[in-house]
Amino acid sequence: MHSKYLIVGSSHAALEGATAIRLIDSDGTLAMLTRDARLPYSPTILPYVVSGRSRPDKVKLRDESYFRANAIDFVSDATVASLDPAQQSLCLVSGETRRYDKLLIATGAAPALPPVPGLREVPYHVLRSMNDAVGLHEAMQHAKSALVLGAGLIGMHAAENMAEARIGVCVVEMQRHALSGYFEPRASTIIERTFTRNGIRMLMGRTLQRVERAGEGCRATLSDGSTIEADLLLVCTGVKPNMDFLAGSGIETEAGILVDDRMRTSAPNVWAAGDVAQARGFWGDKVLNGILPNAVEQGRIAGLDMADDAGLQPFPGAVPLNTYSFFGQQAISVGRAHADDGVDVKESGDDDKGVYRRIALKDGKLIGIATINDFIDAGVMWQLILRGTDLSAVRDKFIADPMLTGRQLMSQTWR
């Protein structure tokens, strides 16, 4: 089988890549391969499937009629085994060969398991695919206690879901604080306290020494010597890009697939985007930036470049960004709010009321902002960072009310 455009993956980066290609080229043959058995869905929705708030059949991002209308050959249950850039062909696990003129790798990431002795001998869950989510949702119906390993976004989300399902939850995190990738300790502490108030044991700064089977569940021994027994073990200790099939392809990789500002890999006619891609960071070295808005942007750039769009704006650089809801509260982080190297930092809020704000400026420009229960427009803040808008003249106003000042600047500057 040959197609002009071949996309591997079916989540945000892949879908925006396909949309972008179709903006420019309405009839070049386009195939999308996914190893999943389902129509496209977002990994971000999975915690809500776990909680039962979203039903697995109600969260698809595209349906068959979309693929028909856009002449996209959507192929599920198709796992790639290897890539030969010289031949411009992919080999699938099924033995089938797929040839392409242009290839987009948007295979995302898979759970990374920590090297804990005994882990592979006990029943454990991860949360990255719809099957994982459905499996975890079912397991929660019988569990009375749960151990969540890792206090990143997925682990925290899942822990909240379990607590709301009246399961006794314990979260173990190697770092000293939860969500340390997005928030500095004071903010993390506010979030952790909310979890504690909701009956979740937050064991930060600890690792698992070993884990063993105990009845239907497991018994874990922590680095502080204590032990925890749980009916259910969920491992959320980060992810690693899905790029094993590149072995022998010669495509350059580090932590992910290295790409330039047009999402081109080191091989001709091969692009990569989303969680699998390692692209320029806004402040320097190439980074993995495994967040949904980043996948959307990179997928779109890759698609436009694949279709030779003359007006393509290259990637401005990855900015870490997240919006996080927990127990009806909101935490938002854009850029490097936790930076403290020679930056003008302003912190305010009321820890007891769970209100927090931290603004980091450098040379009069915003480099990061994080808030809890204090809404800011993340999209406007992101633009202020990307555009390098000079805030020197309005510094005090911005610090006093970043949401209002941000909107005023937006309306004036990019009306």
Binding site: Y48, V296, T323, D377, W382
Partner: protein
């Protein structure tokens, strides 16, 4: 073909910050005066001198939709609105990270993200705005309708880069339709290929290349012949200003006086642009042209442009109107009237069409130049019929100084301050004169009291 959609336009210069739009929105969407429920947000400017807006733009490629992991946000292909489905939303706020305009936001009091839904096509905020600072722009409806009509000209007309006369005649003839006959005297419109070359015409309807001097009478005669054989056609003249105001004037004047049943459109680019930019009777004072040069003796045209559309009203023909390609909704309304009127009497449309080649401005700026003509009152948009007299159709309350218009255009580059002041005075006088005409009590108006 892609569809166009209605939109909300904000005119910050008209906003006084009364925020009644916000109250109206909160009432319409949540039945409360609590402004946190409003989906439109008017803000004071940072320097306190005006007002700013945060509102959903209903983007064509909405990043909020792309960022939504649950399928709660979708772009509605029929209405163009970015729809939000509350039952699918999981409150993750990632949509807010995709919006550069603060158009979808979270308020704790509301409990979920909210955004403008255009009130099903009747925005409450617009109805509440007493200053006209918010406008519901519905021209998209026109464009969608026009896209379905047949273009009466062939592809490949060779107008200059940035010329809007080609667009104008294509749009005009789409509306006039196939049951028509067109007269095109010498000028840019035949020059771009409409009357043909190599034995073929550039139009899909009968078109003839009349003389500069006889367009209106010849067209009226053709129309008479069609009437005689029992065929109803719209007889249209697509003439330049030379073929109307100068050499063509006696025949236009005669047809208007007889109220011949034709639609005469003057495409006014202020001179003979097709033959080397010579001045015409409607070339404005001060303009550089090849016959009104700039040098030691002359600083552009010394005399004023004659106000041809006003002169046409003095003929008491059935309909006279001015129009600008930057105000198409206004033009289409007048064109529809003119087509109807031309079945029984003469309709005269005077369309001001700036010429990037002859006037010396960048070809990308044509529509901006058109817009600025109206914003400065250099061009006034009005219509006239003998029953109701003259009325403005787009009155400009706070016109910009005419210098803002003049400085966009190369043919005025040499103007002295005195000349600019003179032009400003004539513009003011012209508006004052037209204003007086609007106040004349016609018999129809008097008997309506």
């Amino acid at each position: 073909m892609a569809k166009c959609f209605s939109t909300l336009q904000f005119h910050p210069e008209r906003c006084d910050g009364c925020i009644e739009c916000m109250t109206a929105c909160a009432q319409a969407k949540a039945g409360t005066d609590d402004l946190r429920f409003s989906r439109i947000r008017i803000l004071p400017s940072i320097n306190g001198s005006g007002h700013e807006l945060a509102l959903c733009r209903q983007c064509a490629d909405p990043v909020c939709v792309m960022n939504c992991p649950s399928g709660a946000l979708t772009k509605n292909a029929d209405t163009g609105v970015v729809d939000w489905a509350g039952d699918k939303c999981v409150d993750c706020l990632l949509c807010t990270a995709g919006c550069a305009y603060a158009g979808i936001v979270y308020e704790a009091e509301v409990g979920h993200v909210s955004k403008c839904d255009m009130c099903d096509g009747a925005p409450a905020c617009v109805a509440a705005c007493k200053n006209g600072a918010l406008e519901h722009r519905t021209e998209a409806r026109l464009f969608n309708g026009f896209a379905e009509k047949e273009d009466m000209f062939c592809p490949g007309l060779a107008a200059c880069h940035g010329c809007n006369s080609e667009l104008l005649i294509r749009h005009t003839m789409r509306m006039v339709g196939p049951d028509s006959v067109v007269a095109a005297p010498p000028g840019c419109i035949p020059g771009m290929g409409t009357v043909g070359y190599n034995g073929q015409t550039g139009a899909k309807v009968p078109i003839f290349h009349s003389l500069l001097t006889n367009t209106a009478t010849m067209l009226a005669g053709v129309k008479m012949q069609y009437n005689r054989v029992g065929r109803e056609v719209i007889a249209v003249a697509l003439s330049g200003d030379g073929g109307t105001a100068d050499a063509g004037f006696q025949s236009v004047s005669g047809a208007a006086e007889r109220n011949d049943p034709i639609l005469f459109i003057c495409v006014d680019n202020e001179g003979y642009m097709n033959t080397g930019m010579q001045a015409s009777g409607v070339t404005p004072y001060g303009s550089w042209s090849s016959t009104t040069p700039v040098g030691g003796a002359m600083q552009g045209k010394r005399t004023e442009a004659k106000n041809l559309p006003v002169i046409m009203t003095m003929h008491n023909c059935s309909y006279v109107a001015t129009a600008s390609p930057a105000f198409l909704e206004d033009y289409y309304a007048k064109l529809a009237k003119a087509i109807e009127v031309s079945k029984t009497g003469m309709a005269y449309l005077h369309v001001y069409t700036p010429c990037p080649t002859g006037w010396r401005f960048p070809s990308s700026m044509t529509t901006e130049v058109c817009r600025m003509q109206v914003r400065t009152n250099f061009v006034a948009l009005w219509e006239y019929d003998p029953e109701n007299g003259l009325r403005f159709t787009h009155k400009v309350d706070r016109p910009e100084p005419v210098s803002n218009y003049l400085k966009m255009i190369g043919k005025y580059r040499h103007l002295s301050e005195e000349q600019v002041a003179h032009i400003q005075r004539t513009v003011d006088d012209k508006i004052a004169y037209l204003d007086q005409l609007t106040k004349i009590e016609t018999h129809a108006a008097a008997s309506a009291h």
